[in-house]
């Protein structure tokens, strides 16, 4: 009773504090409930629990220069898509911080990224069950004009605990023009970062380094519509804790990413090249799995939002790949033949990623290999060439059309035995058409087709051709209804020519969204924001609620 009273008093004083200090509370809430029905035809298992649930609540209190925040997370039990290590309830994320004279201090959990993430990125993607938040101390400091420093020390989160490795990091960025008050039209921004990880040595046989490090330098040059960004990273050897000599790798790692962009009104172009070699940085040297990955090699392909375009997605190989990408954006002017009344938008995209010559760098007493720097003739991992057209025909009708050709090295990207499925080549077409019936009422149809073939004879048949259709009716600002069907009509195995039907109804009001869905989902790789994971097949009812305040 006394405790309750104290809590009550504490809450009241919190309330007073908020009112007096001009402070405020913000947050968001999300709940995702899924029931599972067994369906042998798609290998969907029924969960023992019948219903699984993920939920979280974020609360942030801020007042002038002061901020505190926490997240309550609940996995009872985690959805099948999630790692089963997410189990139970807790407050795995909490922090406090304040800013004074350009110095920002954070104690507790934080997310951080150095440069483009080649040597360090701590982030969260709730939809994919990724959260490697740091727990420790972070300082950010703005020194005079155009110079900013960031440094931290901490451990990274894995599920409801923290990985063994202790990370120390520092990053500096200088805006040359601002610092030296240059009046140039060309602008230069320079940056450098350093990361070090300590993990206790436990190997009885080999001397492996307890402290390993990685560093990176970056340069950004801007002039008018031009923008160049380049980042180069290096990792000092980080052998795993093996007892077998031929499995130890004392080679260092490296990566770079470069992009050149030009844009003006109505036109834009981006060309990119990147390479990674033995560049996986883990929070615990012996672990596998995405929860332990602490750096990010940005995926070099267009993130597709249409289902059949994303059935065979690109996944970055931090251990070794070389890739290029080109994007052209063009808007055909209105009033021209192709532009029509509103103009037509065209996006061309090409990407190609292949392996490194002889595999990634390897160094021990038996092997000493470092691959050629630029060799584009190696085993193809992924390629995508596509064109997207977006057009408004009149006040009521608009469409989006995509045609793509993708090559996907299924054996390599999904870790199969070479020769099992080989390499797939698919041609995909998408037409997304929306028609405005009257004020606030719109109906939208999506039709997609994927025609796929295996490029060489393989021991197993891939899934073959797919069709997909979707109809969606929306009533602004509150309602949406959607029905969709994916049909694997081209499967060589007749018993697998299945329909994957889904019905979804949603209600939206301000910042709250309720959605109920029922249907069958196929097993496959699901990609959001450039990260991919395998999701199991499921068949059942789904309820999701999200809101923010």
């Amino acid at each position: 009773m006394k405790n309750k009273f104290l809590t009550f008093l504490f809450s009241i004083s919190c309330c007073n504090l908020i009112a007096q200090n001009n402070g405020q509370i913000t947050g968001d809430f999300s709940l995702n409930l899924q029931s599972y029905v067994e369906d042998a035809a798609i290998n969907a298992a029924a969960a023992d629990e019948v219903v699984l649930n993920n939920a979280f609540l974020n609360l942030t209190y801020s007042s002038n220069n002061f901020i505190i925040g926490l997240r309550y997370e609940s996995y009872l039990n985690a959805l099948l898509d999630y790692d089963s290590e997410f189990r139970g309830n807790g407050v795995p994320y909490r922090y406090a911080g304040y800013t004074i004279d350009g110095l920002e201090i954070t104690a507790g959990n934080f997310y951080e990224q150095f440069g483009s993430g080649l040597i360090f990125r701590s982030y969260e993607e709730k939809g994919l069950g990724i959260d490697n938040a740091m727990d420790g101390i972070r300082l950010k400091y703005k020194i005079g004009k155009g110079i900013s420093l960031k440094s931290f020390i901490g451990k990274s989160r894995t599920f409801f605990t923290y990985a063994e490795g202790i990370f120390r990091g520092i990053d500096a960025e200088i805006d040359i023009n601002e610092s030296f008050e240059l009046e140039n039209t060309t602008k230069y921004i320079l940056g450098g970062s350093f990361i070090s990880r300590y993990e206790q040595r436990t190997n009885p046989k080999f001397i492996i380094p307890q402290n390993v490090a990685a560093y990176a330098g970056r340069l950004n040059i801007l002039n008018g519509g031009w923008n160049y960004y380049g980042e180069f990273a290096y990792k000092i050897n980080d052998p795993i804790n093996s007892l077998q000599e031929n499995q130890m790798n004392y080679a260092s790692g490296s990566a770079f990413t470069n992009s050149l962009t030009y844009s003006q009104r109505g036109f834009g172009i981006t060309a990119e090249i990147h390479r990674a070699d033995n560049m996986l940085l883990l929070s615990e040297r012996e672990r596998t799995g995405k929860a332990y990955i602490m750096n990010y090699i940005p995926t070099l392909s267009k993130p597709h939002a249409y289902t059949l375009l994303a059935i065979y997605p690109c996944a970055t190989q931090a251990m070794g790949e070389l890739g290029v990408q080109l994007d052209i954006f063009y808007k055909i002017k209105k009033g021209t033949l192709l532009g029509g009344k509103y103009g037509t938008k065209v996006n061309f995209n090409f990407s190609r990623i292949n392996g490194l010559e002889g595999g990634y760098s390897m160094l021990n007493d038996n092997q000493d290999h470092s691959p050629d720097l630029f060799d584009f003739s190696q085993e193809l991992y992924y390629s995508d060439i596509n064109i997207e057209i977006n057009k408004k025909i009149n006040k009521n009708i608009r469409y989006n059309a995509v045609i793509a050709n993708q090559t996907y090295n299924k054996d390599f990207l999904e870790g199969k035995t070479p020769g099992e499925y080989g390499v797939l080549n698919s041609t995909i077409a998408v037409l997304d058409l929306s028609y405005r019936i009257k004020k606030g009422h719109t109906i939208r149809f999506e039709t997609q087709a994927l025609f796929s073939k295996q490029l060489e004879t393989a021991s197993k048949e891939a899934e073959g051709d797919w069709l997909m259709a979707l109809a969606e009716y929306t009533i602004s600002p509150n309602w949406f209804f959607a029905i969709q069907d994916m049909y694997n009509y081209g499967n060589e195995n007749e018993s697998k020519r299945l329909h994957y039907m889904n019905i979804n109804v949603g209600f939206l009001k301000g910042s709250t969204r309720f959605e109920i869905g029922y249907g069958k989902k196929r097993e496959g790789i699901f990609c959001v924001g450039g990260v991919c994971k395998l999701v199991p097949s499921s068949n059942g009812l789904n309820l999701s609620i999200t809101t923010s305040f």
Partner: protein
């Protein structure tokens, strides 16, 4: 457990109280397309309303929303003086596509990059698009999750309501 519930309930109660007065923008840095760091609290529009819209180059409904508003943006600005701020949450995978996409689309919006989602988290944005309306005093007075065709009309009604008040 009961304590936690009681505590959370009171926090909610407070949150509701403060909500009624309208919230301020958080103290968070974002980057311009020219690589300059700015604080989101420094954004202003001479006492006229601002719209902050979270989007990404890979998000279809986001682009639909911003392209639809782009067609009527001149009228909106003329009638209400409103300014639209588009916050891209593209991470380093697709960040390099933001400037070419924005310029090729003829958008007249102010565009900022939030590549590690710091602002997104601070404003309680769990999915994109998410649109906020800020009044002349810098307070958030309305927000909306998602975009379906026609939602821009409701947004404009809210903007007009602010201006005529």
């Amino acid at each position: 457990m009961k304590k936690t519930i009681l505590f959370l309930t009171s926090i909610f109660f407070c949150a509701t109280l403060t909500l009624a007065q309208g919230k301020s923008l958080p103290n968070i840095d974002v980057k311009t397309l020219q690589g300059k760091t700015i604080n989101i609290q420094d954004l202003e529009n001479d006492g006229k309303p601002m719209v902050i819209s979270f989007w990404a180059t890979w998000c279809k409904p986001c682009k639909k929303e911003l392209n639809t508003i782009a067609e009527v943006y001149d009228d909106w600005q003329e009638e209400t003086g409103v300014k639209l701020i588009a916050i891209s949450i593209d991470d380093t995978r697709s960040m390099s596509k933001v400037a070419p996409y924005v310029n090729s689309s003829d958008w007249d919006y102010e565009v900022y990059l939030d590549s590690n989602s710091d602002l997104k988290r601070a404003m309680g944005v769990s999915t994109v698009p998410h649109t906020f309306l800020i009044n002349g005093e810098g307070k958030i007075v309305w927000n909306h999750k998602g975009y379906i065709d026609g939602d821009e009309e409701e947004l404009y009604e809210q903007i007009q309501h602010l201006v005529t008040k």
